[in-house]
Amino acid sequence: MLVRCSTALQRFYVIMATSFDKSTVAAEARLSSNPAKKPRKMSTNAAAMTAAFDKYAHYLNTLNDKRERVVKASRDITINSKKVIFQVHRISKYNRDEVLEKAEKDLAAVTDQYMSRLVKELQGTDFWKLRRAYSPGVQEYVEAATLYEFCKTGKLLNLEAINASLLPLSDPSFEPLQINILDYVLGVADLTGELMRLAIGRISDGELEYAKTICRFVREIYRKLTLVVPTMDENYEMKKKMDTMLQSVVKIENACFSVHVRGSEYIPLLGCSDPNFSFLGAQVLEL
């Protein structure tokens, strides 16, 4: 009833409608031809629509480009954080300081080169909007940093400390990127998997006490997280990680148990080159 189009517009439509053949051809031509040519043929309505969609297109292009760059930065952080983790796993009784020194350097390189790129990209905005794009990298980074810290000091690196180390990377005039609790907790959950490997490695190296320390540490993390996880935002991913974490804890416990129970047979054999006895050691390792 309130159809009040301008008369010019009406005429345009009427012309369109006078011939069925012409109008469908026109409609098809519109669909297939380059949208950039549109405005000339379109009514004022359509021109306004085009102008509005130009703005939306610009917004989407900018956002998608930024997202792509963030994803790339995140992937670089992941790859290089993994290298730090592998470096830490090269640790043994004899080369501890040397290995950790290299790991520290590698970790600093990840922070300076790759985290800084992410920080610059996210300067001031979109921390939550683009979280999906950078979350994997940040989790891996948390994992590497906490693993290194544990080997160095036996403590869990706090989120506060990590975030403090990120501050110098960003321009002080912007709101700095701070890792959120969710990504930190997800990273710590992955840390327990690495600690399990580390513990098994230490046992096979004869460092039973160190393995037990790891065991207590991982158990404590698991216990703390059981309280935190139900309150997390989207906790499907985290619930899966909790299951994996429990498996890791149990694996370390079983390994410690085996060595403890068979300790009398096992420990004296360490370093023994007699091939007849290596079988016993191997059995422990499989657990």
């Binding site: 009833m1 309130l2 921390f127 506060e160 609790i181 037990k212």
Partner: protein, 240 residues
């Protein structure tokens, strides 16, 4: 190394304790906030449902002003609800997108209905800035996400084929031409966007089926000589 671990384990576990207690507190706070947001989102949802049921009357060829008056009452309700939502989120600057998922779908539906109503009244597309205006949103504080807006517009497009079919059935033979022209322009405009492989892309891909359906209806009307020829401004008013 082992004793180093031992001696530090007590102090480490207490600092760990403190950190995780802090997390628990913050996450619980965040959870409470989310509950408040969800409560408002639920109200938005029920308001859009009312609005939808009002708008459904156009399929029963009720006059547009009557339908619009009822539906517009809900826009005011929505405006109030979005103000409440904005107030909650202004407590946490910069965390708009942390909770975005909790009101997204409801907002998309609201946009589709408001845009459909606007189209019924003016035969124009309701622009992003106009929706913000209608809902009393301010993009500097609490704005409307452009992707949500575009998805809402795609939903609106889904309504049009049904509207055309029912209008023709009640004797408004000019309707298909109008809708076809509008939808053709809209589809062309969407083609200007570089979309990712996401939900918006999927909805846009669906729009061509709406367009095709409207073309079919227009064809059916046209080929039987039912479509009005010449200046049809006169009877349009009474038919709609």
């Amino acid at each position: 190394m082992a004793d180093a671990g031992d001696s530090s384990s007590s102090s480490s576990s207490s600092s760990m304790e403190k950190q995780f207690e802090g997390f628990l507190q913050q996450l619980e706070q965040s959870g409470n906030l989310r509950d408040r947001i969800r409560a408002v989102a639920a109200e938005i949802e029920s308001s859009t449902r009312l609005m939808h049921s009002c708008l459904l009357l156009v399929h029963q060829s009720r006059p547009i002003p009557e339908v619009a008056a009822r539906a517009e009452a809900q826009i005011d309700v929505l405006k109030g609800l979005y103000r409440r939502l904005a107030e909650i989120l202004l407590e946490l600057p910069g965390q708009y997108y942390r909770y975005h998922g909790d009101w997204r779908t409801e907002t998309q539906t609201a946009i589709s209905l408001i845009a459909f109503l606007h189209w019924l009244q003016t035969e124009n597309l309701l622009e992003h800035s106009e929706v913000e205006q209608k809902l009393g949103l301010d993009s500097s504080e609490f704005g409307l996400d452009i992707e949500d807006y575009l998805i809402g517009i795609c939903f609106m497009s889904n309504e049009l084929p049904r509207y055309v079919v029912n209008q023709v059935t009640t004797g408004d033979y000019d309707c298909p031409r109008k809708v076809l022209a509008f939808l053709t322009d809209l589809h062309a405009s969407f083609r200007m966007l570089n979309l990712r492989n996401d939900f918006l892309r999927k909805k846009f891909d669906g729009m061509k089926y709406d367009l095709r359906r409207v073309e079919e209806v227009y064809y059916d009307v046209k080929i039987r000589g039912l479509a009005p020829t010449g200046d049809s401004t006169g009877d349009q008013g009474t038919q709609a």
